[in-house]
């Protein structure tokens, strides 16, 4: 297992990391978040926030699939219970509580995915979209300011968590 961690990232002791993983600087991994690079490496950018019980898996789907690296951009927020298998994710996204992203999906920048939305195989989510249930699935395109707002809310939380998490949790070094 190879693990490269950038400067100032905080990884709690009870988070599970397996396989070839590269994590950028200023990231925060909550306890019980999992990154499993089973069939290929996972490369994560700077300033990402992975909350409790979220899983990033790089796993082949069936025998015809080939192994490929999974690339995740900067300033994304993966909320509680999300399961991410998609190979490319852009910057400044918010992936909501208990969502599932399948392997063939592609996400660009500035996207908000509301809780319990599943993004299926082959869906390419464009910049600045918001996906939510009402209760049928609705995909709206919001403005460019969505990207700034996502990035701000993630970086503000990371600043608080970097001070608070080491006080009550063991940190892996």
């Amino acid at each position: 297992m190879t693990l490269k961690i950038g400067q100032n990232t905080i990884i709690c002791d009870s988070s599970e990391l397996e396989g070839d993983i590269t994590i950028g600087s200023n990231c925060v991994l909550h306890p019980f978040s999992r990154i499993i690079a089973k069939d290929g490496p996972i490369v994560i950018g700077d300033g990402n926030l992975l909350e409790a019980n979220c899983v990033l898996i790089n796993e082949k789907k069936g025998t015809r699939d080939s192994s490929a690296p999974m690339r995740i951009g900067n300033y994304n927020r993966f909320e509680i219970g999300s399961e991410v298998r998609s190979l490319t994710i852009g910057n400044c996204n918010v992936i909501g509580i208990k969502t599932k992203l399948e392997r063939g999906s592609v996400l660009k920048d500035g996207i908000v995915i509301a809780p319990t939305v599943n993004v299926k195989d082959g869906v390419q989510v464009q910049n600045y979209t918001v996906m939510f249930h009402k209760p049928e699935l609705i995909v709206n395109i919001s403005s460019e300011s969505q990207k700034e707002e996502n990035k701000l809310s993630t970086t503000e939380q990371i600043a608080f968590l970097k001070n608070m998490l080491p006080k009550y949790n063991n940190i892996r070094n």
Binding site: G81, T116, P135, L165, K167
Partner: protein, 181 residues
């Protein structure tokens, strides 16, 4: 009111003096900041994040398995602060739900698979149906029933709800007994 007795393995649960029955497999982070008033049940795999802010529970709170209870946060100018999550007496929180509300009153029933986003306020004697998603900062008034995605007012509860639910919680707590060998 008849409730089936459910037994638990006494090796898997810790029973404290004030009567809390806490599973060994539950995950209590920041346990100095988690306040349990007594006679509560916390089942397997629930995670209570006391490391972010204090969380306080009243008596007879029954929290089913696989829940995540996390304090809410508020954004000020350029800053995020996580603040206290207070839960009242006689509550039932269903399986697999994610709770991030600011406060939950007394006699509240929350169903399975619910998602209560940050900053919500649930007043006394309300009920949240299974599978609802309550958007951030909704306020649920007393005796209301909320359901759906997003959560909306669906109905209301009768005035007898308070006494009924209080008896129900006490019966549920008393019927959760260790297995005898």
């Amino acid at each position: 009111m008849e409730i089936e007795t459910k037994t638990f393995d006494p090796n898997q649960y810790l029973v404290t003096k004030p009567g809390n029955k806490i599973s060994n497999k539950s995950i209590l982070r920041g346990s100095q900041r988690i306040i349990l008033s007594g006679k509560s049940i916390i089942k397997e795999n629930t995670m209570i994040r006391g490391d972010l802010a204090t969380t306080s529970f009243g008596k007879f709170c029954i929290i089913e398995k696989d829940c995540v209870i996390k304090p809410p946060y508020r954004r000020f100018q350029n800053q995020v602060v996580f603040y206290q999550l207070s839960i009242g007496n006689f509550n039932i929180i269903g399986e697999n739900s994610v709770i991030s509300s600011a406060s939950i009153g007394n006699f509240v029933e929350i169903g399975k698979n619910c998602i209560i986003e940050r900053g919500c306020i649930l007043k006394d004697c309300c009920k949240i149906l299974d599978g609802t998603i309550l958007p951030a900062e909704t306020v649920v008034a007393p005796y209301q029933i909320y359901g759906g995605k997003p959560g909306k007012l669906i109905g209301s509860l009768p005035e007898s709800r308070l006494e009924y639910f209080q008896d129900y919680c006490i019966e549920l707590y008393n019927s959760f007994i260790p297995k005898k060998k």
